[in-house]
Amino acid sequence: MNSEPRTALCNALSKIVASESLLTEPEELTPYECDGLTALREVPLAVVLPENLDQLRAIVALCNQMQVAVVTRGAGTGLSGGARPSKDALLIGLAKLNRILKINSDRKSITVEPGVTNLAISQAVSHLNLYYAPDPSSQIACTIGGNVAENAGGVHCIKYGLTVNNVLQVRMLTIDGELLTFGSESLDTTGYDLLSLVVGSEGLLGIVTEVTVRLLDRPPEVRLLLAAFDQIEVAGDAVGAILTAGITPAGLEMMDHRSIQAAEDFTHAGYPREAAAILLCELDGRSPESVAEQAIKSIEILKQCGATQVIEAKSEAHRNQLWAGRKGAFPAIGRISPDYYVMDGTIPRRHLGTVLQQIDQLSNEFGLEVANVFHAGDGNLHPLILYDANQPGELQKAEQMGTEILKHCIEAGGSITGEHGVGLEKLDAMCSQFNESELSLFHQLKQVFDPHNLLNPGKAIPTLHRCAELGAMHVHHGQLPHPELERF
């Protein structure tokens, strides 16, 4: 956009929000140039931080009138570039819309503004012994508006579902200024389930202005098992055996030998260093009896499957210590490799062994090491490809290898993204997962809500004629974006 319309836009915005809520100078804009996917950067046209719904409505009306594109941002912790700004688009940050609007303990629900952080929701109802179940690793910082946009997951999805399974109602502002309500506090609504379309739509259909989520009773009993294996395929089989036996762990996580070594060096969690793989199996429930029973059964299965060692956390402190290794796995890898690239594919669980072997083969072919850390219970892989961006060609090799890994995920019947979203990062991979008719349908659906393509244009759904390589999450010298956040 050339300077004249930009000036007109900024002048008009300055009449809507206070001066400190409108950022236009280069030094103010730079902090917003990327989200958690730091490899992709672009300085936004301007940044506006509305403080209430009226301001937001006025801003959106202005953008619609001037036909200025909009990128919406929560906390900017996303890992697929969904909130990466564009030089031609206004970045609307919703972090100031952070009020808790209503807690309804009888209905076990809470209504909040989009800028409330994921963890703040659970904190707001902890005195009622309730909590909000989806727990992406960035939960201390990420906002519920962003969670809705991305259909965020976390460690406990296997038992408690994704964001879409836990959101009851969303209010959304459309580009033409309509404030729509999707879903309700009833368990169903009349007509089509449009709420499902809005959740995970990555800011392409509208701007979330209010979210009502269901709350769960906090399980009073939690136990954590750690099982070590001398072959990673055997650990994969154990995951299937636990699920086949009718046990639904609250979390079922796997780490391979390289991740174990790195995590142990970093956090001293007490992991068996020699193991080829470990499984962390968290069990929760209402009564000590039921959880004890699940634990006994799980230990037996793990041993039968060939676990060389099964440890049970003896106390809450011990449990936290064992989790610390898993939660610190990403920064731990950052200590052993100058850069790494995080993948996010899902596969049917039974193919864990095969796909891990394929990743191993790719690792040999490309000459790049891989550390595997993942939500095994959901078949959600997070292979970390280790590389050095200072070595010419390594970055491209890492990207190519990532693309190959996602192809294997699709071939195994899985998906290119389990929880990080498509954003800008996986536009290419979308072309492998969906055919032309399906992608066309997605574009037409966007048109229903946003006929002039003003909301987060160019993200999430690739154009039919162009599926360009677009980059990835590259971590340089262990400098994770938001290093204060746990990444798992």
């Binding site: 309804n104 579902g161 729509l180 169903d188 089509y192 449009l194 959600n380």
Partner: protein, 368 residues
Amino acid sequence: MADQQVHLQKQLLDACAEGSPLRIIGGNSRPFLPTCSALATLKLDQHSGILEYQPEERVITLRSGTTLQELNQHLQQHRQQLPFEPPQFSPHSTIGGAIATALTGPGRPWRGGVRDALLGVKVLTGNGSILQLGGSVVKNVAGYDLFRPMAGAYGSLGVLLELSIKTVPMDELQSYWSTTLEIEESLQRMQQINLNNLPLTGMSWADGALHVRLSASREELMACHQKMESLNLSDQTSSSTEHTFWAQLHHQQHPLFKRTDPLWRVSLPPASPLLDDLEHSKGTATILDWGGAQRWLSTTARAEQLRSQAESAGGHAMLYRNPLAGVERFHPLSTPLQLIHQQLRRLMDPCSILNPGLFSEPLYQDEA
């Protein structure tokens, strides 16, 4: 067990060419539900068979004409079940019909709905394209979740050909509890029970009694025993009457469903009070299900009264059985949502031949 995809696609393309609407039928076991007036039918009952099921995945992929009976038996062999407990109206009820109508059993508030269990669909659109939406893995955030609105769309967004659905381990054991109670006190009592962190999978009021169902392991059920007694509920686990009650409620065979008055399904937020002069009015027969969030009212009350009260309480009312002349079956949509519905439908069924007329369609037809 056969793959009828090619045949179905041809039938649809022919209908499309002739501009002749199609009524989509599975086992034809729910003729009492809203349906379109098209004379030509697209029959899916022969398009059946389980395509992929590995118990360890807890996902089943199957053709839509597979009967619920076959599906349930298959899952039971592996000690698994569908989480949403679809009612089975006859041995011919199909999984396609269950997904399309999104009806769920008594456990809905605690186990989730059809949309929560659906992972992906292969769908035949109104212009004859075959699309794969969603997938067969539990975690998948690629593309819009266009497959989820297929649950409850009554076929109007496409003909369901194949479905991938999440399964859960079979309930280890169930216990049943009940107490005699007037309807006026029932909602408060349900609320009290719901706040006790129990393994609830059913809580209903019917015929002057409150009924509670728990599903868990033997150990956990034993641990609940004292709590349930302190809530003044008596153990009916060995009562055949109680087993019958839950089966009848689940499959909508309770005598209330056989009355000839209009039967309304009212969906309300949990913990909503009774509606004024409705559930407990003279001449109205009522079942409160889902802890009060789903209410069945066999009543001659005016549709406007019912709908406005349901709407004020944050819910909606569907005329479920025994229709009334001039009364829409589904609760009317707000204008902006109606427009989105029409546009979405046009995307999936451009010639308006799939079960037309079900969801507030006049505007769409005018425009078209």
